[in-house]
């Protein structure tokens, strides 16, 4: 197993600020905007994004949701071990809202497809945008592209892109793991 570091803690911080700025640029006062983190790995990312938005850019009280897509996936009964479900918590209707999905890694696009399906249970949003920390380009299986990208990386299917969050030791990082026989 070979691990290659892609992004270090300092760069992640810069990226978080840039993504926050882009959101502010596009959404202004965030009047109708809601952010939805995709379970499980979008949650630590969205938490840090919110922190930056409120501490540095004074954007407070944006409605935040957590969406789990397990029951909407298209690979149910087609993969060896089933995924276990995580909590969905959306305390508002998305009807007429500008929704931004937040996730850590965009790979085949299938989780996003499931999320598009899932969010409709909470109403019909005015629009849906996608923000990802890492975009594994050239690996998409569906016509889905992100609107806000932290970093684009080129990787092959046998590699895994790993995002690790460790604020206490200031060791947030993104790395590529060559796992050989995985997937």
């Amino acid at each position: 197993m070979v691990t290659k570091n892609l992004i270090g803690p300092k760069e992640i911080n810069v990226i978080l600020h840039r993504l926050a700025c882009q959101l502010v640029e596009n959404h202004g006062d965030f009047k109708d905007t809601v952010l939805i983190g995709l379970q499980p790995r979008g949650i630590p990312f969205i938490e840090r994004l919110i922190e930056v938005l409120s501490n540095t850019y004074g954007v407070k009280d944006i409605p935040i949701g957590r969406l789990d897509t397990t029951f909407y996936r298209d690979d149910f009964r087609r993969r060896g071990a089933p995924l276990s479900a995580n909590q969905t918590r959306i305390d508002f209707l998305v009807e007429g809202k500008r929704v931004v999905f937040v996730d850590d890694v965009l790979f085949t696009g299938r989780s996003i497809r499931a999320a598009l399906d899932a969010v409709l249970s909470f109403g019909r949003p005015a629009e849906i945008e996608l923000m990802v920390l890492v975009d594994r380009r050239f690996s998409r299986e569906l016509p889905i592209q992100p609107d806000y990208v932290g970093r684009q990386v080129d990787s092959i299917a046998s590699e895994r892109v790993l995002v690790e969050w460790d604020d206490e030791r200031n060791e947030n990082r993104v790395s590529i793991v060559e796992s050989g026989n995985d997937e």
Binding site: F71, A81, P82, S84, A85, T88, R89, G123
Partner: protein, 317 residues
């Protein structure tokens, strides 16, 4: 945490592990959120067909299963014995084989004979969910009862639960005993000695014939229905006497040092095993049990559906 059940069928609580039960609860937590959404439906089982075979009358369980199946987007076919060829003399295995030829993936079955679900699981390929087999087991009821206790009291482990009434004819009692014990609760049964099976203590449960003492001991009292339809002889002199000895009323509950939780699997005989006042009180969990029933059944069907295909693949290779 495990994300797979250790069994292919849910025939009884006796066959599943504590980890299985915890996995079902964890999945049910998520489904409970789903059924409280504006749109209460997920597409998980959209390519699955489920047959509900009810060889015995049922309202609540059948509705609950049907609702769970529909909320998971499964295709559902219903069958009830009264309106079918069973009355023309067809055997169980023939009936079921005919239904399976219609390419059914899962079967939910209620049957008056103990072991019917077990029998079926040995002869057909689909995943079986036992929705009650005679006086044997009723696993989803036990799961939803334990889930409701966990929801109200935080945990099942360490709690004291008394099951009151007709233990002899009750599949709910047997499944509840297995389920609660696996989760670390203490179980007592209480009722007239004619309705307590002779060797029930070998399951590790306490036996008490005095309801007041039982209520004093417990955190939760699960009041069973007196099953007149299964009683071909007199087990107690009169309903009135049963109610005086084993019916729970407000007066009894007020005498206790601390409030206890009252459960009932339904349908209630109001004024027999439980008074209306108690059934409609804050202490009663009866309607929460019904709501949790749908979430638990969704979890069971969802988790078993996954088992189906993995196993079939094994067979192919």
């Amino acid at each position: 945490m495990m994300s797979e059940l250790s069994v292919r069928h849910l025939l009884g609580i006796k066959d599943v592990t504590e980890e299985d039960i915890q996995l079902i609860f964890k999945t049910a937590d998520q489904f409970k959120e789903v059924i409280n959404r504006p749109i209460k439906k997920v597409p998980s089982l959209r390519d699955i067909t489920i047959a509900n075979l009810f060889f015995e009358n049922s309202t609540r369980t059948r509705l609950s299963f049907e609702l769970a199946e529909k909320r998971l987007s499964a295709d559902v076919v219903n069958f009830s014995a009264s309106s079918s060829s069973v009355s023309k003399g067809e055997t169980l295995i023939d009936t079921v084989n005919n239904i399976l030829s219609m390419k059914v993936d899962m079967v939910v079955m209620r049957h008056p004979h103990p072991g019917a679900a077990q029998f079926l699981s040995k002869h057909i390929d689909a995943n079986i969910v036992n929705a009650g087999d005679g006086t044997h087991e009723h696993p989803t009821q036990a799961l939803l009862d334990a889930y409701s206790i966990r929801e109200r009291l935080g945990d099942v482990a360490g709690k004291k639960v008394v099951i009151v009434g007709d233990i002899l004819h009750s599949r709910v009692a047997l499944s509840n005993i297995f389920c609660l014990q696996k989760l670390g609760a203490e179980v007592m049964v209480c009722g007239p000695s004619t309705l307590i099976p002779k060797y029930i203590h070998t399951l590790g449960v306490k036996v008490e014939h005095n309801l007041d003492r039982a209520l004093e001991w417990c955190d939760v009292a699960n009041m069973l229905r007196v099953q007149h339809e299964r009683m071909d002889i007199k087990y107690f002199p009169s309903i009135r006497e049963y109610t005086m000895q084993y019916g729970v009323n407000m007066e009894r509950l007020r005498k206790l040092e601390r409030p206890i939780t009252i459960m009932h699997p339904g349908p209630i005989n109001r004024g027999v095993e439980i008074t209306s006042e108690v059934a409609d009180s804050e202490q009663a969990l009866i309607l929460q049990q019904v709501e949790n029933g749908v979430a638990i059944r969704m979890a069971v069907l969802y988790l078993l559906a996954n088992q189906g295909l993995v196993q079939k693949d094994d067979k192919l290779s």
